[in-house]
Subunit: 247 residues, 2 copies
């Protein structure tokens, strides 16, 4: 049973920030090499899902962890408010279209989980619908796993309510960050406790487990994610394929 209040959003005290930043850079280069190997082999896809409250760093983590990868190998997708066409379909329709083919890494900034998070928090769906959708998500992720060897890696970027306030204020004060600021984020923040409950439902009912990432410090958050992505790829024990002899 995951209870977010019991998990610290802060980096452990005994860790050296500068060292960790170098490690993240090394891990990033490893991930780039491993992605090439993933492509050369063409046997697995990797789906990385980022969820978290506003300002938790979903975009920032994507940038730092995959920045050494070629754009040929890593595609990132942001799921915002569904379009009319998307709303006219089941909630998995828009995500299924962009799951990774073998050899590639796809990154979801928000995902199909929003349909049981924001939608439940605002009572747009009830518990019965949430349960049905949760079951559909479990089946969907299992389908990806068994039928196209897609590895599904899910990260919750865990920040404190105080840290969010700090970051929202930063967006209002630093000119280069103005464009990230959305006045509506303050309104959404009022539902903080309901969001925590909704997330706990997700973590405790997902078949493929979640990684809860302490995200109050950007550098530690990047480290935890990069470490997990790198290890997941290493565990595939891939080698470069032999020379093709015929067309």
């Amino acid at each position: 049973m995951i209870q977010l209040a019991e998990i610290s959003p802060d980096a452990p005290a005994d860790i050296n920030k500068d060292e960790i930043k170098n490690v993240v850079r090394e891990f990033g280069r490893d991930i780039s090499d491993l992605q090439e190997l993933l492509y050369a082999n063409g046997k697995h896809g990797l789906l990385v899902v980022f969820q978290g409250m506003d300002t938790s760093g979903k975009d920032g983590t994507t940038e730092k962890v995959f920045r050494y990868c070629t754009p040929n190998g890593v595609h990132a997708f942001s799921f915002k408010k569904p379009t009319d066409l998307e709303f006219a379909h089941d909630f998995l329709w828009r995500v299924h279209k962009v799951t990774p083919p073998k050899g590639k890494i796809h990154v979801f900034n928000r995902s199909h989980y929003e349909d049981i998070l924001i939608q439940r928090v605002h009572d747009w769906i009830d518990d019965v619908k949430r349960e049905k959708r949760m079951k559909a998500i479990n089946e969907f992720e299992e389908l990806l796993s068994f039928d196209s060897n897609t590895i599904v890696l899910k990260f919750y970027l865990h920040i404190s309510k105080e840290k969010q306030k700090e970051k929202l204020e930063e967006r209002m004060q630093v000119e280069r960050k103005f464009w990230k600021y959305n006045p509506g984020d303050w309104k959404e923040r009022e539902h903080w406790d309901k969001y925590m409950e909704a997330y706990e439902y997700v973590f405790n009912n997902s078949k493929i487990p979640w990684n809860i990432v302490p995200a109050n410090q950007r550098w530690y958050r990047n480290y935890v994610v990069a470490k997990k992505v790198r290890q997941t790829l290493l565990d595939l024990n891939m080698t470069y394929p032999p020379l093709a002899t015929e067309e």
Copy 2:
């Protein structure tokens, strides 16, 4: 009139390789910053098209020029032999689906131009069909330009026939490159002269001009492309937008 035989595929003799490699790295970081600005403004898209013979470095250039960009901002697409569904549509159907939205950079590794290159070289289409398609391409690229402010930047990576031989042999000798080797590339190479003619037709009939990039040396090729991409983004004279005051 562009005639490829008159353009050197080699880097100028008086240029320092190590200096240039550092410049490419700096340009790469600039391009990353400029892409963020492109996204913050949301007024223009950028479509970068790479064409060139096998081994000319389409993938490698994508990696080196855009490697500091976040995967959220740059998507790359490789167009290979069309699928049955793609063949059942007009030749622009599959590319139109993945043109860049405002704020993003999309990179095409091969493109709609293949439909008047490989298809003409092998006589799958005749001159009349080629002319019609060329006209359709010009109209299509103009549509992207005027109706969604998409900048279309096209690069031909110009290598010599001798250099291609060297690179194909490298793929057969270096274990980490085995996966790139396709025995069919030797057969395609036999049509070299017809390809040069087909490319010249493209260059001399495109409304949006092509950039012919000397590509025998990877480092110089990356420099020419990075310089052009960076300058194109700088010319937009973008600034960070002001703070939003209402939702």
